[in-house]
């Protein structure tokens, strides 16, 4: 059956890296859902939101080769934009008195609110990217970092809209494991399609050799800007998911801690592969969760307090020292069967 060269099988083979990831996550979600463990479900949802963030970052970083420290800024923008639409209808005026009248008096549905949060992040990315994407290499990284700092410090002071340094409490907790899974699948699919598209190809050519790409007619600035905007859109949506998972928002949670943990997940998994992005999140989330549980003690055995974080740091170092291009080595999970259907078909057509 595997040897048969049907159109369906060719499609399956083409989409295999995507199918494997989505099925793998489906199995994890289904198992956790069937155990009914609430704490485990929380860890799972957090992991799924992180998958959305890391895969969104992969869309830009993996394909363009520019490390972005700025994407958590988009998560921040999306999170607050969603909160303006859904948070706490009765106390919204107390937390965020500066909102326009329409937003103060109306609430949007969760899905629409998250979508609009993503759109706002994408619009900001378009404007900011118009400047930052003209830079290359390390200067572009610093540009994205400066962008994040601008939004972080502005949101921290802009208390009439964001309630400043204190937190916004009372978002409906609508991000269940299955909602998180749905968004993760949408994001992974988008990342897969983008990577396989002509735009993804053009962007990767600029990553591998910028001068050659330019000489072959690739508009490097335009391709980078496109990827930046798309990935900002998904980061913005992830922000909305994150807010509706915790039920509260603080500006401080979208800062260096989140920036570095998400980037570490991407690099540990393998920066230039979609599978790497997903696997990095899964591996590091599992490591964090196991160590945290050991810290609180399992069956009378426990490790000293805050040694969980030390352990996470050491494991990160160890993985990067042993496999400097990440767990996946920047490869995708390809069709595992030896006989290559499409190339065989191509051979038959040639002969």
């Amino acid at each position: 059956m595997i040897e048969a060269n049907t159109p369906l099988l060719r499609k399956v083979r083409y989409f295999w890296p995507l199918i494997v990831l989505c099925l793998g996550l489906l199995i994890i979600v289904a198992i956790v859902d069937s155990t009914g463990d609430i704490i485990l479900a929380q860890t799972l949802v957090e992991g799924l939101v992180r998958i959305v963030i890391v895969v969104a970052i992969y869309m830009f970083v993996g394909n363009s080769g520019i490390i972005s420290f700025g994407h958590i800024g988009f998560v921040l923008i999306g999170a607050y934009a969603t909160a303006w639409q859904t948070c706490c209808p009765y106390t919204r005026e107390m937390f965020m008195p500066g909102l326009p009248t329409y937003l103060l008096n109306n609430s949007h549905h969760f899905v629409l609110a998250i979508f609009l949060g993503g759109v706002l992040a994408a619009v900001v990315a378009l404007i900011a990217g118009f400047a930052i994407m003209r830079l290359t290499g390390i200067a572009a990284s610093i540009g994205t970092f400066a962008f994040m700092m601008v939004f972080y410090s502005a949101y921290l002071r802009w208390s009439t809209w964001t309630s400043g340094a204190s937190s916004v409490i009372g978002l409906p907790t609508t991000t269940t494991p299955w909602v998180g899974y749905a968004y993760a699948v949408v994001t992974i699919t988008a990342a897969f399609l983008f990577t396989r598209s002509k735009w993804g190809l053009a962007l990767r050519s600029s990553r591998d050799d910028e001068v050659a790409a330019k000489a072959s007619g690739v508009n490097v600035f335009g391709q980078r800007l496109l990827a930046f905007v798309i990935s900002a859109f998904f980061c913005g949506m992830a922000g909305g998911l994150f807010g509706h998972f915790l039920g509260m928002l603080t500006v401080d949670s979208f800062y260096l801690g989140m920036t570095f943990i998400t980037l570490s997940m991407l690099v540990v998994g393998g920066m230039q592969s979609l599978a790497g992005a997903v696997i990095g999140v899964v591996v590091i989330s599992v490591v964090i969760d196991v160590l945290r549980r050991l810290e609180t003690g399992i069956g009378g055995f426990s490790i000293p307090s805050s040694s969980a974080e030390v352990g996470v740091g050491l494991i990160l170092l160890l993985i990067l020292i042993l496999r400097s291009s990440g767990i996946t080595g920047n490869a995708e999970i390809y069709w595992p069967f030896k006989r290559d259907v499409s190339s065989e078909g191509a051979l038959r057509r040639q002969s």
């Binding site: 200067a139 601008v150 980037l263 540990v268 805050s306 040694s307 740091g313 400097s324």
Partner: protein
Amino acid sequence: MDYVIQTIISALSFGSFYALGALGIGLLFSVLRLINFAHGDFITVGGFALIVPSSAVVATMAIGSFHPALLLVCIVAIVVLLALVSYFLVFQHVQNASPATMMIVSFALGYTLQNVIVMIYGGRPKAVNIFPELTGQVQLSDGVSVQILQLVIIAVTWVLLIALVLFLRRTQVGIQMRAAAEDFRMARMLGVNGKNVIALAFILSGGLAGIMTLLFVTQTGVLTFRMGVPIMLFFFIATVIGGMGSLVGAVVGGYSVGIVSVVLSAILPEELRGFRDACVFILVIIVLLARPQGLVLTKAAKERV
């Protein structure tokens, strides 16, 4: 006028501090292409080395109660040792990996160091008081009084800068280091021992971090396990604005960032003062757009095809 002079001195002292930090990062970047995010945490470790390891609320001085000269030697030695150990245990194994990987490795190292500190000393901030005589004010002329420490920071920076320049220009190993910064592979082919040069860069960078620890702790009087992170960010930005890989650039970048942030908080109107950091970072983006390679161009920074 008095206010202007005070602002200038304060700007210069901030700028000097950032310049020292940017140099510490620039030294490593020039030979190893490593952006060391753990640099700020080296400073933190140096600070915590001053007190007795315990999670007690009140800090008891250990090295901090030594004679000033001995204190200086001990802290610098500890930070240099930490820098060397981190090279041999960690960075040596990833020095051929991509710059992104090295950056994340240095972050992971910093994260580990921070949490080791929390494990040993607990997470609460600790008050320490070293060199109390430096935090007093000195009268320069009528109405102009500045903190002695600010003048000390400026003086220490320039002594170190001159010493570093002499070292890099007049000694054999210094010249080897400059050659390696220019073109690492070529320098190795001409007989420069790459490992020694990198180890030396870690020693110099660690030494700078050790001295900065003392300046910083004297100024703030508080130890927290995350205190290295925010200053590290400014060093990093200073290095990039000045021009990665150029030591002159690091100094120029450090002074620019320090002076701009002090001047901005002096001239911004009251209601916008909270947005100072946002303004600094918008300026950073503008500078990068105008000069993507940094303010000071080096020959090595030009990308070759």
